[in-house]
């Protein structure tokens, strides 16, 4: 593994990598540990998006110091940030349709499908 980067860029990229890995791990812990589906869907869709954005920021920083524009990284970031809420919304709709049991009662202004 030969890596010749600017030392400041290297330290910044290392910090960004650690932050991103922390957020990915937090999202997966939430997915494994939270009590019902409507709580579980919160953890990975937000924390994992932030984690992957941090990874790609570190990668763009490292490739910018070598004079290579990270175009694919930028595209991945945009794509993940746009599609993560859409897929989460789809999964929540499917869970409402399947009447997945929730630990807490729905609020009074919930969508009519949830009413018993």
């Amino acid at each position: 593994m030969t890596m010749e980067f600017h030392p400041v860029a290297q330290a910044l990229a290392a910090a960004l990598l650690l932050v991103g890995a922390f957020f990915l791990l937090v999202g997966s812990i939430g997915l494994a540990r939270l009590p019902d589906f409507f709580m579980r869907i919160h953890a990975p869709t937000k924390a994992s998006t932030l984690g992957i954005g941090s990874f790609l920021l570190a990668s763009m920083l490292l490739s910018a110091t070598q004079g290579r524009a990270g175009f694919a990284e930028l595209l991945i970031t945009l794509f993940v940030f746009v599609t993560a809420p859409v897929s989460a919304n789809m999964m929540a709709q499917a869970a409402l349709h399947l009447m997945v049991p929730a630990k807490m009662p729905p609020p009074d202004d919930a969508v009519p499908e949830r009413r018993p």
Binding site: M1, M3, F5, Q10, A11, A13, A14, A15, L17, L18, G20, A21, F22, L24, L25, G27, S28, I29, L31, A32, F37, R40, I41, P44, S48, T49, G51, I52, F55, L56, A58, S59, L62, S63, R68, G70, A72, E73, L75, I76, F79, V80, T83, A84, V86, S87, M90, M91, Q93, A94, A95, H97, L98, V100
Partner: protein, 93 residues
């Protein structure tokens, strides 16, 4: 002495992503409802994209970032198709 934090950070990040994979796989096996399993597959796709990005930083190969982009697209399409299937009973009406 040349103190180089990047390889150490890459190794620690790889370990944390591997742990995240294990937790997602546990939810995929255990998940009480089908939609829990779909959510676990979606999170597994996101973790796999992160793993390929880490590999691309480690080996300095731009091809791996394009592979990660394709994996992100496939993950989105498969999640939407599975959620549609569970909602409507059919992917394309």
């Amino acid at each position: 002495m040349n103190l180089n934090p990047l390889p150490l950070a890459l190794d620690i990040a790889l370990g944390m992503v591997a742990l995240a994979f294990a937790l997602c796989a546990w939810r995929l096996v255990r998940g009480p409802s089908p939609i829990d399993r779909v959510l676990a597959v979606d999170t597994l796709y996101i973790n796999a994209v992160a793993l390929v990005v880490l590999l691309g930083i480690r080996q300095q190969k731009p091809v791996l970032f394009e592979a990660a982009l394709i994996m992100a697209m496939l993950g989105f399409v498969s999640t939407v198709a599975l959620a549609r299937y569970l909602t409507r009973g059919d992917v394309i009406e």
